[in-house]
């Protein structure tokens, strides 16, 4: 039963993780440049009105679910020294250090989503009142936080897929 519980948590973690990082890559590899071109052609409004708010909804809640289910999955494990897997990972202990590094990166990314990207996107999309100057600043902060997450996703995913394969770390 414990093995099945772990498998289900891992499966859900990967499913919602794909939604989170997939949408992050959509924003960075597709939408940023497409919006720039559409705005230059005077056709950018529908993207901001219909696509981005919907994408941001699934993006930010998939981020939460990914973290929570990942934390739950770690908690079902026990390290060689008898420590709970969640504590061993975030404490970068022994064989849990690689997955712990990935977990820390995922945590920083979750913080970026909720503390930097989402509040600033609300200003950009007109969900919160903001002057043009505040919008320009919000655009820069949200852009850099999103790019930082794209950068961090690369080592984060490395540790997610290699964490259980300890032989490469010896």
């Amino acid at each position: 039963m414990e093995a099945l519980e772990g498998a289900v948590l891992r499966w859900v973690h990967v499913l919602v993780g794909i939604m989170w990082i997939g949408l992050l890559y959509f924003f960075n590899f597709v939408n940023a440049e497409a919006s720039k071109q559409a705005n230059a052609a005077g056709e950018g409004a529908p993207i901001g009105k219909y696509i981005v708010p919907r994408a941001l909804f699934f993006f930010r809640w998939a981020a939460v679910l990914t973290w929570v289910v990942g934390a739950g999955l770690l908690s079902t494990m026990t390290s060689a020294s008898g420590l709970n897997g969640f504590l061993a990972a975030f404490g970068l202990q022994g064989e849990f250090a690689p997955i712990g590094l990935g977990a820390w990166m995922g945590t920083i990314m979750l913080f970026n989503v909720w503390a930097l990207i989402w509040p600033n996107q609300q200003k950009i999309l007109g969900m919160k009142p903001a002057t043009d100057e505040e919008k320009a600043k919000a655009r820069r902060i949200a852009f850099l936080a999103s790019r930082a997450n794209t950068m961090l996703s690369i080592p984060m995913l490395w540790f997610m897929v290699t964490g259980p394969h300890q032989n490469i770390y010896h």
Binding site: L92, G94, E95, A97, P98, R147, S153, I154
Partner: protein, 36 residues
């Protein structure tokens, strides 16, 4: 100096460089645990 995050290639290359650095950090952390 230009911010590497302003370009997609700069972002991807920075991510790969971070992966290499943290790979060695992870190796050190695992080795430290095994030696304890």
């Amino acid at each position: 100096m230009k911010n590497p995050l302003d370009s997609l290639w700069g972002t991807v290359i920075s991510g790969v460089v971070l992966t290499v650095i943290f790979f060695y950090v992870a190796q050190w952390l695992v080795g430290r645990g095994a030696g304890a």
